[in-house]
């Protein structure tokens, strides 16, 4: 009886102290604000597969299940780094923040984010369950610096109705090229049959897409384009081969000219081109369109990884979002709370993969639940074979900008291909040389 009383007293004391000791951590994320669609404690009213809706719901759930932790959520304008840099400069970074894997080396090299291996091990957050692409993306110099949230990559989104019309469907599968010559031949065949461009890709006001294409096809050729972390090699036969191919595609009108990102997306939705080269995040929107009767896409929509053109094994350049912990003063309780949040995020990997992004957890990637989502079986391999840039390369966003800038000039014919590659190589090396 005494024991029971003691236990009750302790319990009361415990719950009491628990209540008074709510740990608050600041969480900063991108993906926008959509509280209107996700009232607290309710499932999303609208757009349930949107990035914003899913992440809002996951964070709400975490708070509900962890009453001892309060999240102070700050939403930053995409991509978030101007604000984050300013917060570091002011000595006030958040406790946990979303970060692109391609940006992590910059923050690691300055010691701005913390390695998490030991913390993860302590709470049983199993890094061996990360998919290879995710694991590589968050690992810098042998340490894990973040909880990978997703990987994403560019894909070929295909209008099957137009492919059928062009005679490019066999057994219900799209016929895709295996070499540059096949690509040109099929694109010409497509254009002849439909009168439409084979490829849709933003060309105006666009840099990222060009660069990702080059990276993927350099990987296809097993080209070593970062011989070390401070140098890029682009003035090479491998790179010229790729850029000249795209230059020819553009010059022959096999790719729609003069479209920016929204125009290219609208063109694909309206059936004005065969293949839209855009990221994982568009699967949901395109699929919804394909399921709406009477729309140009309702005759069929398929998604495939970029077909390899130079005989390499299937791969693709991937990037991804991760959650990282900035180095700052915090109590052990706050630190523990951050790690608990990360573990929770790991457990909710399936929910996040509904956005179209690749899962980061191997068990989810294998699960029937995930593979039952539309088109996922065709692309899930990329979670294994997708490659990020070498983890020691800093300023990857800036590099992407420079390469994209030069590639846009070359492909649209404003600059000779060789010159553009030479300029891109020079500009990137100059940038890396001047990184402190």
């Amino acid at each position: 009886m005494k024991k029971l009383l003691l236990a009750v007293a302790l319990l009361a004391l415990g719950s009491c102290s628990e209540k008074s000791e709510v740990t608050e951590i600041s969480v900063q994320r991108i993906f926008g604000e959509c509280r209107a669609n996700v009232p607290k404690g309710q499932p999303p009213l609208r757009n349930p597969d949107g990035e914003c809706e899913i992440v809002t719901q996951i964070l709400d759930d975490f708070e509900k299940r962890n009453p001892d932790i309060r999240l102070k959520v700050n939403i930053a304008p995409w991509p978030g780094y101007d604000q984050l840099s300013a917060q570091y400069a002011a000595g006030d970074p958040p406790d946990v923040v979303t970060m692109h894997m391609s940006v992590m080396p910059d923050f690691v090299s300055r010691g701005l984010i913390e390695p998490l291996d030991a913390d993860f091990a302590k709470v049983g957050l199993d890094v061996n369950n990360f998919t290879p692409a995710a694991r590589n993306g968050v690992t810098v110099k042998g340490h894990v610096y973040g909880m990978p949230f997703d990987n994403w990559t560019q894909l070929w989104h295909i209008n099957m109705g137009l492919f059928q019309k062009a005679g490019l469907v066999r057994d219900g599968q799209p016929i895709l090229p295996h070499s540059p010559d096949e690509l040109l031949a099929q694109a010409r065949q497509f254009k002849q049959a439909t009168g439409l461009p084979y490829l849709l890709q933003p060309t105006d006001n666009e840099r990222a897409a060009f660069t990702r294409n080059i990276y993927t096809y350099l990987l296809d050729q097993n080209a070593v384009f970062f011989p070390d972390n401070k140098h890029i090699r682009l003035d090479t036969p491998e790179a010229r081969r790729i850029v000249e191919l795209f230059r020819q595609i553009y010059a022959e009108g096999l790719m729609a000219p003069a479209q920016d990102y929204p125009a290219a997306m609208a063109a694909f939705l309206n059936g004005q081109g065969g293949i839209c080269m855009v990221g994982t995040w568009m699967i949901g929107a395109f699929e919804a369109e394909a399921n709406t009767p009477g729309r140009p896409l309702s005759a069929g929509y398929a998604v495939r990884p970029y077909p390899m053109l130079y005989g390499g094994k299937q791969t693709a350049y991937v990037d991804g979002h991760a959650w990282v912990m900035p180095r700052r003063e915090r109590t052990p309780e706050q630190r523990a709370a951050v790690i608990r949040l990360m573990k929770f995020l790991q457990q909710r990997d399936y929910d996040w993969s509904r956005t179209g992004h690749l899962p980061t957890q191997a068990d989810i990637a294998r699960s029937p639940q995930y593979l039952g989502l539309p088109h996922r079986d065709g692309i899930v391999a990329l979670a294994t074979v997708g490659q990020t840039l070498p983890a020691g390369v800093e300023r990857q966003i800036a590099i992407q900008d420079i390469i994209g800038d030069e590639m846009a000039s070359a492909i649209t014919g404003h600059k000779p291909v060789a010159q553009a590659l030479k300029d891109a190589e020079h500009r990137v090396n100059d940038l890396l040389f001047h990184v402190l």
Binding site: E33, A36, E51, A86, A266, L269
Partner: protein, 278 residues
């Protein structure tokens, strides 16, 4: 008779010109409003869908349902309002000083201020951020208001305007033994109302639409201004999948400025006949 018909022909011509030019000015604005009234999904397919129904207030409801929006709106009103007030006070005093009073080094000082006109924001933003970090001014109203007060344009404008007012006016008042401040306050300031109104609208507008400084100084959600808050609320690739919402944000954010314009604009062109009560 021929004089009169000449005049009415001229007036008609003026009106037609204005209507044509005005229409060109307004097309993009009408376009914005139409887009804001459309569902986002429809606009993703084609923006031409905005030319016909169905229209919806969904985007407006979404903005109003964002619980933070009123806090951001209030921050913006406070910041832009106080910045405007501060600029008007400082510029009027300085403009009067430079245009009317003599003191050692006046002309050199004026040139020194003119020099500030040439300073681009980019040349100071990083070091100003460091300064405000040292002074612990980030995430505060003073941190958002102070930078706006240093802009030299208002001083330049008010100096030019004071200079154009006939000197006899204040000399007469000074002869009546009014103090210098009284002359400034009672005699000259009322004459500068059109310039004050212009400067007021301009400052409010610039402060309202300011993006970079509030982005890097007010990093906590409760201190966001409307511009930053709305930018943070945008989903990725908002131009594609949230175009209607973006346009609604534009209409929403522009409305307070229009109100300020309407309040101030009547001082810009007073009844011309009684212009500037001479």
């Amino acid at each position: 008779m021929s004089h009169a018909s000449h005049k009415s022909l001229r007036n008609t011509l003026v009106l037609v010109t204005l209507i044509v030019l005005g229409f060109i000015m307004l097309i993009p604005l009408i376009w914005t409003v139409l887009l804001s009234l459309k569902a986002n999904g429809e606009l993703m397919r084609s923006t031409a869908n905005a030319f016909h129904g169905p229209y919806t207030l969904e985007n407006y409801i979404d903005i109003l349902n964002n619980s933070s929006v009123f806090r951001w709106l209030m921050n913006s009103v406070i910041v832009s309002g106080l910045t405007t007030l501060g600029v008007l006070v400082l510029s009027s005093l300085a403009g009067y000083g430079f245009a009317r009073l003599d003191f050692p080094g006046r002309d050199k000082l004026f040139l020194f201020v003119l020099f500030g006109l040439a300073i681009p924001e980019q040349a100071v933003i990083i070091t100003r951020h460091q300064l405000f970090t040292a002074l612990h001014l980030h995430n505060s109203y003073p941190g958002l208001i102070l930078p706006g007060l240093a802009a030299p344009f208002g001083v330049f404008l008010m100096t030019q305007y004071f200079r154009a007012i006939p000197k006899e006016l204040d000399e007469a008042a000074l002869l009546d033994n009014a103090s210098r401040f009284q002359v400034f306050w009672k005699v000259l300031l009322p004459l500068t109302l059109p310039a004050q109104a212009t400067l007021g609208i301009f400052t409010f507008l610039a402060s309202w639409n300011e993006y970079w400084w509030p982005l890097i100084s007010a990093t906590r959600s409760e201190m966001f201004t409307l511009t930053v808050g709305l930018a943070a609320s945008q989903i990725n690739f908002a131009q594609t999948s949230g175009l209607g919402y973006l346009m609604t944000q534009a209409v929403f954010a522009a409305t307070p400025i229009l109100v300020v314009y309407i309040i101030f604009q009547k001082y810009i062109v007073k009844a011309v006949s009684g212009a500037a009560a001479r």
